[in-house]
Structure formats: C-alpha cells, structure tokens
C-alpha cells in the first residue's frame, strides 16, 4: 500500500461505509441507490484528496459529499421541493459525523436487507461483505477464489432481485426481525466456514474471511443483544477461531482436534467465546442449534488435555442437538462422541444404523468415522478398506492424503 491517501481512504471507508449507506438509505429509501451514492463519494474522495490533501475529518467529508448527492437525487426525482429543503437544512445541522450516526435499527435494516431470504446464499454472502464489511469486489473475489467479474455479477443480480421484488429500506417489526434472524445468522456462519474449511487456495487469505465473519457476528450481537442464538453463534465462532493456528501442520496437512497442541489455542478467543456462551444461556430460555454447538465446542475448549474431555456431557449436548435438527450429520458426530464416552463398539453400532442414509451417500466422513472405529476395534482389514473409500470421496486433497496414510497404517499397529 504505497499510496497513503488511498490507504487512509480505504480505512475510513471500512469504518464508515455501512453507517454511510444506512444514512443515505434513510434519505433515498433505497439501499441499492444508497450504496451507489456512497461509492460515488468514495470515488470523488479518491479523485480529490490526492490534490487537496486529507480533509481534517475524512468521515464527515464523505458523509457530507454523499448526502449532497442523495439530496440531489431526491430533488431530481421530484419527491417535492419541500422535502429537499428540509433535508438540506437538516444536513447543515448534522455535518458532525457523531450526530450522523444512524440509529442501531438502521444498521440492522442494512444487515437484514443484505441477507434477504429472496437472495441465493452466495449472493447474500457477497452482499454482506460489500455492504457491511466495506470490502471491495476485488477483495470479495479474492476471498472466494473467484473471478472479480463473477462477484460483480452476483452483486448486480442480487440488487436487481431486490429492486424487482420492491424490497425497500423498510421498518422491520420485531416479529419480522425474529423470523428472518436465522437467515442472517446462516450468512455469518457460512462465511466463517468458507474460511474455516480451507479447501482451496492460500490458507491465510481464508483466515481473513473467518475474521470478517466473526466481526460481523460480534456487531450483530451488539445490535440484537436479546437474541440468544446470536450470542450462541458468536460463542461457536470465537471458540472455533481459537484453534485456527493449530488446525494444520507446517505443510498444511489437517491436524485433528484431539491431536492439536492446546497450548497454542488462543486463550483470549476462548475466554470471549465462553463469555458469549454465558450470555446466550442467560438470555435463553431454550438452547438453539448454534448455542448447543457452542456448548460442545466449549467442552473441548475447557479440557486442558484431550484425555480430560467430558465426552459424557458432549453426548448430552448432541442428544439435544439431534432432537432439534434431525440431521444425519449430527447423528454421525453424536456417534463419534458416544464412541469416546462408551467405547468404539457403541459408536460403531450407531454408525452402522446410518449406512443407508441417503443424505450421507458420498459423504467421506461416514466411511472415515467407520474406519476409525473399526481400527480401534482391531478390525484392521475392514478399516483399511473404509479409509480407502473415504479417501476416494474426500474433496480436499490434503484430507484425502491423511486418510490414505491411515489406510496404509491400518494393520501395522496404527
């Protein structure tokens, strides 16, 4: 970043863009237009600041510039000279960025719009990164390992979808917020996982995505403090992020949870995660799926050594999660926990029951778990075949390699 003006502008943009879009949307009643106006102000700054030098208050400059444009638009659209007059007066008294800080509800509305249920999942993520995290199209493209044009198109299409459906910058009732919250949480969760399961590309770029998701989650938790699942999700992500550095070895090969160096888990993130979980459980009353997953993650985080893990408690959390979600993947995870608590045969019995499950057909972790349990029961020939089957199904080359390695070791004491 050789250009200091640009670097400062980008930093200010990151701090201000979501707020700016909310302020503008309040004027033009249209988030897409608001975002365009905000972008125009950004471009104007990019053109002018190198000549004029940085303004004393870059945030106020951006806000004032964008507001002028917004008011012009409103005027042009003949929404009434009176309205423009009023806004123009309003602007003079509100040039201070502090006063311009929109109500929390405005930020919420932008979040909920970006994560609108009308949009496909990939568009929601892209739009959230753009509108809420202030990432450029190029940055988003890099994070998703996709061409910039693809992301640009995704964003345009998403905006068109919203425009065609007549989605405006509207008030959301408490009931409406409640109803749509799961979609918003899902966007944050998927963003995090996109980075966490580093299937392709440079791992460090993916960690940025985890950090963006976590930050978004933290912001959301402040905006919706009375929603238990927001805190549950944040708790889950904080605790998972605490292990980011220990999940792979120097060569990028995955290291399983129980083999990780717990001394290198990030204690600060664990502490934050446990605090968020406490909040989730206090807000309650019932425990949702993110909160339950956070409870499980917390069991691992609390164990100083892998042997100290409270598997009995983890099984209880999985029981509750299984009742809530009715998901074969949860059942598979539950089987692993049962095997740890009650021995490999008990786990294997549960895994066998999942064999015909259509949702797990082609899922490499089913044979991988089965193989692991067979190996622990000393049934090495069967284990080897299952590890090989799992390796063939694994999409991630490094994971496949790990499974082939285990297949080779089966029968020679491994």
């Amino acid at each position: 970043m050789a250009d200091p003006v640009r670097a400062t502008l980008e930093a200010v943009w990151r701090l201000e863009s979501a707020k700016l879009i909310a302020v503008l949307a309040r004027i033009v009643r249209n988030v897409n237009l608001a975002e365009e106006l905000a972008q125009e102000a950004f471009v104007a700054a990019l053109e002018q600041w190198p000549g004029t030098g940085l303004p004393d208050n870059p945030a106020a400059w951006l806000t004032a510039t964008a507001r002028h444009r917004a008011i012009d638009v409103v005027r042009r659209e003949r929404r009434g000279a009176e309205l423009a007059e009023e806004l123009s007066k309003d602007m003079v008294s509100r040039i201070d960025p502090e006063a311009d800080e929109p109500a929390a509800e405005d930020s919420l509305r932008v979040i909920f719009m970006a994560c609108h249920p009308l949009l496909p999942a990939d568009a929601r993520s892209a739009l959230a990164l753009r509108l809420l995290c202030g990432l450029t199209t190029a940055e988003i493209a890099r994070a998703f390992l996709l061409p910039e044009a693809t992301i640009a198109q995704r964003i345009v299409r998403a905006k068109n979808t919203l425009a065609e459906a007549g989605v405006t910058f509207e008030e959301l009732s408490r009931a409406e917020l409640r109803r749509r919250l799961p979609t918003v949480l899902e966007v944050v969760y998927l963003l995090f996982n996109e980075g966490y399961t580093a299937t392709r590309g440079s791992d460090w770029m993916r960690i940025d995505l985890c950090e963006e998701a976590l930050r978004l989650g933290r912001v959301l938790a402040e905006l919706q403090p009375r929603e238990a699942e927001v805190h549950g999700l944040v708790a889950l992500l904080e605790i998972q992020a605490s292990r980011l550095a220990t999940r792979t070895d120097a060569a990028g090969r995955p290291i399983l949870l129980l083999d990780q160096d717990r001394g290198r888990w990030d204690r600060l993130l664990i502490r934050r995660g446990l605090a968020a979980l406490e909040r989730a459980l206090t807000v309650g009353p019932e425990r949702g799926s993110y909160t339950l997953q956070a409870c499980i993650a917390a069991c691992h985080a609390r164990a100083r050594t892998a042997e100290e893990t409270d598997w009995r408690r983890i099984v209880e959390h999985y029981d509750e999660l299984a009742r809530l979600l009715d998901s074969p993947i949860v059942e598979l995870n539950r089987a692993v926990a049962v095997a740890m608590a009650d021995g490999p045969q008990a786990g294997l019995d549960l895994v066998e029951a999942l064999a015909g499950e259509p949702a797990l057909a082609g899922y490499h972790l089913l044979p991988a778990v089965r193989a692991d349990l067979l190996a622990r029961l000393g049934r090495h020939d069967e284990a080897r075949a299952e590890f090989e089957r799992a390796a063939a199904l694994a999409g991630n080359e490094r994971e496949a390699e790990l499974l082939r390695e285990r297949a080779r070791r089966s029968g020679i004491g491994g």
Partner: protein, 120 residues
C-alpha cells in the same frame, strides 16, 4: 490483524490521579463504539508504576526491582487489543479516541501483533 494499543503514562497518571467523570464517560462512549464495530477484543487501565515490579534478567541471575519507575513517557498506563483490517484502520480508530489525559500531551502507540502467517 490484531494490534495492541498502548496508552503511555503521564505525570498525573503516575501520581495516581484518577480520570474525572467526564473523561470516563467520553472514554466509555468510545469503548462502546469499538465494541459495536466488533473491533475491541480486550482492554484495561493499569495502576501507576508505584504498584509495579520488574524482574531484571542478567545471564542466569534474576533481580526483583520494585516500582515506582521514573521514565514516565516510556511507561504504559492502559492498553487495548483491537481486531482491525490494517494499520490505517487502527490509526483511524485511534484518532477518534478522546485524549486519555485531558489537557496533557501524551502518546498512544499502535503495535501490530505477530500473526501465524508471519512464521510461515
């Protein structure tokens, strides 16, 4: 990236003079903004160096030195740990911070932490 933000000490902070209620309110507001933006990870104020101790390492020797220490400009009076995208973002945030020692001149230093990627 994470940065550690060090608020340096002043004569007053070293003398144990507590910040006034206005200052506390302003700083509270700033902290709230940091939390709401998902930037603040941790933070705290430090007692004056009269309550501090140092251990001096010299070869295999360990010598305990009790405070107070004299070089107040070099002493730390408080800290934050922030999650930001860049140094510029940290600078932009810090510019919005109220003067931690109202009326006085003090420096606040931003130091990026080493990250896993730096060891690759």
């Amino acid at each position: 990236m994470r940065v550690m933000v060090f608020v340096k000490a002043t004569k007053d902070s070293e003398a144990g003079k507590m910040p006034g209620p206005e200052m506390l309110a302003e700083m509270g507001k700033f902290n709230e903004q940091l939390v709401k933006a998902g930037v603040m990870l941790d933070g705290g104020g430090l007692k004056p160096s009269s309550k501090a101790a140092r251990v001096r390492f010299s070869g295999s020797e360990r010598k305990v030195i009790d405070g107070p220490f004299t070089e107040s400009k070099e002493l730390v009076a408080g800290y934050w740990l922030w999650q930001v995208k860049s140094m510029q973002e940290a600078v932009e945030w810090l510019k919005r911070c109220p003067n931690p020692h109202p009326g006085a001149t003090c420096e606040v230093e931003i130091r990026p932490l080493f990250e896993e990627a730096d060891f690759q």
